[in-house]
C-alpha cells in the first residue's frame, strides 16, 4: 500500500459513510410506494391515477426525506462541532490535565507510560496537532468529514426516488393485479440487491446481506399489514374510503 492509496482510502471511507442515506432512502421510498400503490390500485382500476399518485408521493417523499436528512445531519454536525470546541477549550484551559487524559488514553491502547509520555510531549509542541489528537483519542471526536448536511440531503432524496421508481414502473407497462404483483416482486428484488451491494462494500457475504435486507423490510411491511388486520378485527366498521 502506498501513501496515496492511504489518502484515497480516507476519501473512500468518507464517501461510503453515505451508505446510511442510500439504504434509508431506497428502503423508505420503496416500501412506502409499494404500500401506497397497492392501496390505490385496490381502490381504483385506473392505472393513470395509480401512476400520478405514485409520482406525487415519490417527489413529495423525496423532498421531505431530503429536508429531514439535511436538518438531522446539520443538527448532528452542530452538536459535534460544539463538542469539539468545548473539548478544545478544556484542553487550552487545563493543558496539563488534557495531557494526562491523553496519556491515559494512549496507555489504555497498550503503550507503556514512557512511550505515551514521549508521544504526548512531542504532540504538545504543536498546539493544533495536540488538540486534534486529544479530542480524537480522549473524547472519540473524530475529524472524518461525514456530517455534511447538503450531500446527505441530496443522496437521501435521490435514493428515495430510486427506491420509489421501482414499484411505479410496472404500472407504466401493465395494469391491474399483474402490475401489483410485479411491483411487489421488483421491490423485493431491489431490497435484496441493496443488501447485497452493502454486503459487497462491507466485505460480507452477498447472499446473507441481501437476505437480511429483504427479510427486515418485508418483515416490517408484514407487521404493518398485521396491525391493519388487528385494527379491522377490533373496529369492524372502519374501512378505507374508496
Amino acid at each position: 500500500m502506498s501513501l496515496s492509496e492511504i489518502q484515497q482510502k480516507r476519501q473512500v471511507i468518507e464517501s461510503r459513510s453515505r451508505i446510511r442515506e442510500i439504504v434509508f432512502g431506497i428502503q423508505d421510498g420503496l416500501i412506502s410506494t409499494v404500500g401506497l400503490l397497492s392501496g390505490v390500485q385496490g381502490a381504483t382500476e385506473n392505472s393513470l391515477v395509480v401512476i400520478v399518485t405514485g409520482l406525487t408521493a415519490m417527489f413529495s417523499g423525496a423532498i421531505s426525506m431530503a429536508a429531514g436528512s439535511y436538518l438531522s445531519a446539520g443538527a448532528q454536525k452542530d452538536i459535534f462541532e460544539k463538542e469539539i470546541t468545548e473539548a478544545e477549550k478544556m484542553a487550552e484551559r487545563e493543558p496539563y490535565i488534557a495531557a494526562e487524559g491523553l496519556l491515559k488514553a494512549l496507555g489504555d491502547e497498550g503503550l507503556t507510560k514512557e512511550q505515551s509520555y514521549r508521544m504526548v510531549k512531542t504532540l504538545l509542541q504543536e498546539r493544533n496537532v495536540f488538540l486534534r489528537t486529544f479530542r480524537e483519542k480522549v473524547f472519540g471526536l473524530g475529524s472524518a468529514d461525514i456530517n455534511q448536511p447538503l450531500p446527505a440531503a441530496l443522496v437521501m432524496g435521490l435514493s428515495f426516488i430510486v427506491g420509489a421508481v421501482v414499484p411505479i414502473v410496472p404500472y407504466l407497462i401493465m395494469s391491474g393485479v399483474s402490475a401489483f404483483y410485479l411491483s411487489g416482486l421488483l421491490g423485493g428484488l431491489t431490497l435484496f440487491g441493496v443488501g447485497a451491494f452493502k454486503g459487497r462494500l462491507a466485505g460480507q457475504s452477498l447472499w446473507t446481506a441481501g437476505l437480511q435486507f429483504f427479510l427486515v423490510a418485508v418483515g416490517a411491511a408484514a407487521l404493518g399489514y398485521l396491525i391493519g388486520l388487528i385494527v379491522q378485527y377490533f373496529f369492524p366498521g372502519v374501512s378505507v374510503p374508496a
Binding site: 496539563y96 490535565i97 495531557a99 494526562e100 496519556l103 507510560k113 514512557e114 505515551s116 509520555y117 504526548v120
Partner: protein
Amino acid sequence: MGLPRVGDHAPEFSAKGYFQGTVKDYSLSGLGGKWLVLFFYPADFTFICPTEVTGFSKLATAFADESATILGVSVDSIDTHSSWAAELGGLEYPLLSDEDRRLSQAYGVLDEAEAVAFRATFIVNPAGLISYEVVSHVNVGRSVEETLRVLKALRTDRLCPSDWHPGEATGDVALKY
C-alpha cells in the same frame, strides 16, 4: 490503613529504590538516625508531577545540610523510575518503587480508586517519629521550600512562630505563635 498521626512511630518499610544507576533496598531503620523527608507522588511520566520531583532534587543539598534524607515514592517499577530520572536529567535522591502498594498503604496515602499514591509528604525525626505530614489534592503541587522550612523549624527543637523563617528568633514568648 489510616494516615498515621504526628507523634506516631513512622511505619517501618523496606523497598527497592533507584538512585543514579544503582538499585538497592531502602528501609526506615537503615537510615541511621537521620531525618527523613518521605514524599509520595502519583506516577512517573506525567506532566504534573515533574515540578516537585525536580524541586526536591534542586534543593537536595539544602536538605542534606539539615542532615535529612529525601526519599520519593510512587507505584512505578524500578525500570520506570530509572527512565524517568534520566528523562528529568538525573535526580539527587532515590526513588522508591512501591509496585505492591504496601508502602503507600502503610502510610495511609493510597488512592484506592486510582491505585496510586496521593501527594503526601512526611517528615520523620531521627527517633523514627512522624513530626510533620501533609496530603494535598492531586491537582496541587506541594511546596518544596515549605517542606525545607518546616524541617529547619523542627530541627531548632524550639517553639517557632507562625511563618517562622530560618535566622529569625525562636522560643520567645513575645513572639506570636
